[in-house]
Symmetry: C2
Subunit: 139 residues, 2 copies
């Protein structure tokens, strides 16, 4: 992970996904992928970008997050009405969620938890993904 010839720089990753490596996209990708796994809303990423002197509009943050998701660099996590979380960990895993502080998401790796006995999907349908959300409350 920390060495190896497969490593690509951000502009190359973006080009590889068919996107032009514009200032904003590169800056957002750096914010997203530089610090390990993250769970962010569009709004929070926007604040973070502005805070780091990367002036970018909220609309562009939304566009970019969706483009990254389409390119397989991010994953969307549905938690509850309104706000959408984007997860930089695109591997197969599940989540803890607590309402605390406006909603915090944490990863659960699949080697800890797994789903057993997935029933046959209805005719003509195939499973695209299984989401597991473990909701937490303060004790």
């Amino acid at each position: 992970m920390t060495h190896g010839s497969v490593e690509k720089n951000i502009p190359d990753i973006l080009r590889g996904a068919g996107m032009r490596p514009t200032r904003q996209r590169v800056a957002l990708a750096e914010l997203l992928f530089a610090k390990g796994d993250r769970h962010l809303t569009a709004e929070r990423l926007h604040e973070e970008a502005v805070g780091e002197n990367v002036p970018v509009s909220l609309a562009t943050v939304y566009n970019t997050l969706h483009q990254f998701t389409q390119a397989g660099l991010l994953r969307e996590v549905a938690v509850e009405g309104a706000k959408t979380y984007f997860d930089t960990n695109t591997s197969n895993h599940y989540h803890f969620f607590c309402e605390q502080d406006g909603g915090i998401l944490m990863d659960i790796q699949t080697d800890e938890l797994f789903v057993q006995g997935l029933p046959e999907p209805p005719d003509g349908m195939a499973v695209s993904r299984v989401d597991v959300l473990v909701r937490l409350v303060e004790k």
Copy 2:
């Protein structure tokens, strides 16, 4: 389930939950619980009510759905940004979801599927509920 002295009529159920059995609440409860397990959005229930000559405002539908949920008569299901589904099946179970036709939810009973190896929640936290959503796509 179909006989027995425990059976209550809707006004009694509402009174039992500390709600006045008003026209609108009784009518909505009838729409919700008369036809077996259902997965509805507020908007769809509102359309249905208006279609059945039960003139009720959308605001009242929202109020009522939330009150029913608080009373344990309904369960909320989070699927994706924006719209919330209300499930008349409040027992422990999971869901299939397909985007088709604006989003369809189907029950999966827990005797078919279960989650294994639930990890220890973080300190001071307790599990309140485990949601499993099996996302489907057309083959």
